[in-house]
């Protein structure tokens, strides 16, 4: 049974995970995927939670008011800065999905 890391579940103030009646709310499936990916990689030791959290807070302060858009941007920038993938690689792949060149089911 996967346990929940309270540091992630209890992100606070402006960085609080959107909830309704206590349950996490994802307005669209991609939000859940973005959430899951960032937590999985932390769990696997790719980065400390504080590193991600710091970027999340920055993005929220400076970027789109939509929470998971900030989350996504924070995650992308962290992966790029760590050299996990390049901006070009990501941009190209995203364009392929956006243009339907690539099938969204994998």
């Amino acid at each position: 049974m996967t346990s929940v890391d309270p540091r992630i579940a209890n992100l606070d103030r402006g960085a609080a995970l959107p909830r309704k009646n206590g349950e996490l709310v994802f307005k669209a499936p991609w939000e859940g995927r973005a959430f899951g990916m960032a937590v999985v990689l932390n769990e696997k030791g790719a980065y400390a939670w504080d590193e991600f959290r710091a970027r999340l807070v920055e993005e929220i302060a400076e970027g789109s008011p939509e929470y998971y858009e900030s989350w996504l941007s924070a995650f992308e920038s962290l992966l790029i800065d760590q050299g996990v993938m390049s901006v070009d690689e990501l941009g190209r792949r995203a364009s392929e999905y956006a243009s339907l060149e690539r099938d969204p089911v994998f």
């Binding site: 909830r19 769990e43 996504l72 995650f75 992308e76 996990v84 969204p104």
Partner: protein
């Protein structure tokens, strides 16, 4: 040559809706991370599932404990719930109000939402399944004493049971009575005996047997 070009030429085939900008970025990330062997889709599924069911913060218990040790704070809490909660450094959303109901020797409070399942999640985390169930929602207002007995709470006939139906934008939280045998306890110890059920009004805080030495 992209699929968009084919579409503009009057293709009659059924085209799936193109992913939005955000969806495309997310798909790109997941597919690349899988290809690079850094995670699997199942890993992501597992995490989403775990966090969707986490219990959330039990801020309410800490608020109750503080009210038990500080009578002035207690008065402020009863007067303006959200402000008192923020005083302790917790975030309380501005969109919903909160009224804190004080249990006394003569009055017992209980909270329900008969119309749906409104719940003070900001202080209590996830609502329990029974709270959202049809039996609780209908019987809490019509036969509260029976419901309380089923929860193990027996009240004398002269105690007034007040059931609060959260039918509007206000939420309710119960401030239970501090039990005997907790003199000198720290706030942390006190908070540990305040369960979610106590703050809904279907349980009373209990001193564990080992503590009585």
């Amino acid at each position: 040559m992209t699929k968009h070009d084919h579409h503009e030429q009057g293709d009659h085939g059924h085209h799936p809706e193109a992913p939005s900008d955000l969806e495309a970025r997310t798909l790109a990330l997941e597919s690349l991370l899988i290809e690079k062997g850094l995670l699997t889709s199942e890993d992501v599924d597992r995490i989403i599932s775990a966090y969707e069911h986490d219990i959330g913060p039990m801020i309410g218990a800490r608020v109750v404990a503080h009210a038990w040790v500080d009578p002035d704070y207690r008065a402020r809490l009863l007067n303006d719930g959200p402000a008192a909660i923020r005083e302790l450094g917790y975030d309380y959303p501005t969109s919903t109000g909160l009224t804190v109901l004080e249990i006394t020797e003569k009055v017992h409070h209980m909270v329900v939402c008969t119309l749906c399942s409104c719940y003070p999640w900001a202080v209590l985390g996830l609502p329990p399944t029974w709270y959202k169930s049809a039996p609780y929602r209908s019987r809490a207002v019509s036969e509260p004493r029976l419901v309380l007995e089923e929860f193990g709470v027996a009240l004398p006939a002269d105690v007034s049971v007040n059931v609060w139906d959260s039918s509007s934008d206000l939420r309710y939280m119960v401030l239970p009575e501090r039990p005997e045998g907790t003199g000198g306890w720290t706030e942390e110890q006190l908070a540990s005996i305040v369960s979610r059920d106590c703050m809904i009004g279907v349980a009373r805080p209990r001193v564990p047997a080992e503590a009585n030495r």
